[in-house]
């Protein structure tokens, strides 16, 4: 369960002065639901997700993850979330097993716990064949699986995906999409950001349209189409943000 309430984040920029990257953003994302943040590049998607994942601190407003406040207990919140983005990389000189185990240790898991969990994940993702080779020797699809395994080593109740399919080939992005569905089916609370309208349409139970740091609409994809009287999200998006 994620509750964002009046989240604001301002940056100081030499050229543009104070920039409001996230402006009074509020939404809720329930367990067993895929919530999409849809918007163009620079809309504030990544910043919003970083506020939820505690890697950035909000200027004002609160983010609550499973009842824990992100500002006051960031370490606890981090243990509740799994994070994956399209450009998260791997440690090329480590093996898949070493890398995933390393993150297990960062999440304070014990050695038997890590071993057991790795076995489950590697079976689920069909990774055993390349689990002990160096990461930089892997294909992009295999790399994506390592990233997935890394993000859920601690079996978090909340998953955050930041543009997870950006820059991936068809096979790799199919793997991701399948994984997102699995997360939802397992009852996790899933939030993900994308600028690809069709992807949002296909995957999301609910969509929030975000532009210039503000949320313009928040409902199911079908309702969005009905409200705007359009037959695709792209047109709906243009109508809603009014440009």
């Amino acid at each position: 369960m994620i509750i964002a309430k009046d989240l604001c984040k301002t940056f100081k920029d030499k050229k543009r002065g104070t920039v409001r990257a996230v402006d009074n953003v509020s939404f809720e994302c329930k367990n067993g639901e895929v919530f999409g943040l849809l918007g163009p590049n620079g809309a504030g998607k990544t910043t919003t997700l970083r506020l939820l994942s505690t890697s950035l601190k909000p200027t004002s407003g609160t983010a609550t993850i499973c009842g824990t406040d992100a500002k006051t207990q960031p370490e606890k919140v981090r243990s509740l979330i799994g994070f994956l983005s399209g450009n998260t990389g791997l440690y090329g000189r480590l093996t898949a097993r070493e890398m995933v185990a390393y993150f297990g240790k960062l999440y304070s898991m014990t050695k038997p716990e890590i071993d057991k969990r790795i076995d489950i994940l590697f079976t689920m993702l069909d990774m055993h064949d390349f689990a002990d080779g160096r990461n930089d020797k892997l294909s992009s699809g295999m790399k994506q699986k390592v990233s997935i395994a890394r993000s859920v080593i601690h079996d978090p109740p909340v998953m955050i995906f930041d543009e997870p399919t950006t820059g991936l080939d068809v096979m790799s992005s199919r793997t991701i999409v399948k994984f997102i569905r699995q997360c939802r089916d397992a009852g996790k609370c899933v939030i993900f950001s994308t600028h690809i309208m069709s992807e949002a349409m296909r995957l999301c139970d609910r969509v929030a349209i975000i532009h210039n740091g503000r949320i313009f609409a928040d409902s199911t994809p079908t309702d969005l189409l009905a409200q705007t009287g359009t037959d695709n999200l792209e047109d709906a998006f243009i109508k809603i943000v009014g440009e």
């Binding site: 970083r50 994942s53 505690t54 890697s55 950035l56 601190k57 370490e75 606890k76 981090r78 243990s79 979330i81 994070f83 983005s85 450009n87 998260t88 990389g89 791997l90 440690y91 090329g92 000189r93 480590l94 070493e98 390393y102 993150f103 240790k105 960062l106 999440y107 304070s108 890394r150 993000s151 955050i160």
Partner: protein, 414 residues
């Protein structure tokens, strides 16, 4: 914020594994410190040997004042020598119209190699067995001038021996009476001594630079590398704290820096004890270089290098995490390296002595202490001052690095 040992250990172990699989790091951490000093010594000695050989082969120019006063045999022996070109002063002046009125001034300027002054009626003095002398003027700063003197002596000495022998024979005295024992001595060419001193001055510089270079690549990889690979954000969303990452990564960089320093010292000890002896010959190498290199010296040097490596690690880590990419980090660190060379270089300067003020200047103090330690002049008051000030600075830089890692503008400077 708490720093959990278990987490730091996990970070250290992972980063160490990663680092040790990086060929570039291994080169700077292991290969360069081990190989640099022996190679340098080898190059130096071969340069020296070839330089000496060249000067020995050269025909030396000798100007003689009073050439006409030399006995005929000696004169013809000097002129006939393959190693020497002998001219009288008048002849020299005829060939060089611009020559100075004071002929020694010409010698000083390198116009010729040795000035030989024969007193008036030298041959007559020899004949009547009255004491006399031949003066040789030469320039000690010039190797060729020194060699010229020894070449002249190889002609003069046998000639003198023959006169002595003749005089003894005249009086029916055995030659052995004036030679109760022989003195066999070997000339220590001054080139080698100078080279030795240079080497002694080079060591502190080398150790400091090796320590920095050993830490350089891991530092770039461990921070800027995380940004470039896109792994930094995955670390930031893990429950391990920023402090734990700083400490874990810092310890890895510290370890590689120290390892490089230790290896360069080991390679140094080996080179000085074994290689140099082969090169220079049977001389007392340690005394010639004014170097004392025993266990306690090594421990002292390591003690002072350790906090210095700490400073390097903290600075390198801070710069590296600030950089957007591997390349950017590399160019910043090259800049730091340039700045670092200057204070490390102080060991080359003969005039700079240890004082309380010097003991407080970072890097300069370490350079001077290593220099003093290898020449066996440890002054504990300065060592302690330098040690404490270096440790304090190391702690401050680590705290600063820790604060630096909290800043969003640094971590997300993409």
């Amino acid at each position: 914020m708490i720093v959990r040992v278990r987490i730091v250990h996990a970070i250290f172990k992972k980063e160490m594994t990663d680092t040790l699989r990086d060929r570039r790091t291994l080169v700077f951490m292991l290969l360069v410190p081990i190989a640099a000093i022996p190679l340098l010594l080898m190059a130096l000695s071969s340069l020296m040997t070839s330089q000496i050989a060249k000067e020995m082969e050269r025909v030396s120019e000798v100007v003689v004042q009073g050439l006409e006063y030399l006995p005929d045999t000696l004169r013809s022996e000097l002129i006939g020598s393959d190693d020497l070109t002998v001219v009288s002063e008048t002849q020299y002046r005829a060939e060089n119209p611009t020559a100075n009125s004071d002929i020694t001034e010409d010698l000083r300027l390198g116009g010729f190699d040795v000035l030989m002054v024969v007193p008036k009626a030298f041959d007559r003095a020899i004949e009547i067995e009255s004491p006399t002398e031949i003066e040789l003027f030469y320039d000690e700063a010039e190797m060729k001038s020194e060699f010229a003197v020894s070449k002249i002596k190889t002609v003069l000495d046998p000639y003198r021996e023959r006169i002595i022998q003749a005089r003894l024979d005249q009086r029916d005295i055995s030659g052995d009476i004036i030679r109760p024992f022989e003195i066999v001595s070997e000339n220590v060419a001054s080139m080698q001594k100078v080279a030795g001193e240079k080497l002694g001055a080079m060591l502190p510089y080398l150790i400091i630079i090796m320590c920095f270079m050993g830490a350089m690549y891991p530092a770039i990889d461990l921070a800027a590398g995380e940004k470039e690979r896109g792994t930094l954000e995955t670390l930031l969303v893990s429950p391990a704290t920023r402090g734990e990452f700083v400490v874990g990564k810092y310890l890895v960089i510290l370890t590689t820096g120290i390892t490089a320093a230790i290896l360069s010292m080991g390679s140094l000890t080996f080179s000085l004890n074994y290689m140099l002896e082969d090169i220079v010959g049977k001389m007392n190498v340690g005394r010639m270089l004014a170097i004392e290199f025993d266990t306690s010296t090594v421990i002292l040097i390591l003690m002072i290098v350790l906090p210095l490596a700490g400073i390097f690690a903290a600075i390198l880590l801070s710069v590296s995490i600030f950089a957007r990419s591997f390349k950017e980090a590399q160019s910043y660190i090259t800049g730091i390296y340039m700045v670092l060379i200057l204070p490390a270089f102080v060991s080359f300067l003969p005039g700079i002595e240890m004082s309380y003020r010097m003991a407080l200047i970072p890097i300069v103090n370490v350079s001077l202490i290593i220099k003093d330690a290898i020449s066996g002049q440890v002054e504990w008051n300065y060592v302690i001052t330098a040690f404490v000030s270096t440790i304090v600075l190391a702690a401050l830089t680590l705290v600063a690095a820790r604060k630096w890692f909290e800043r969003e503008s640094v971590l997300f400077r993409m």
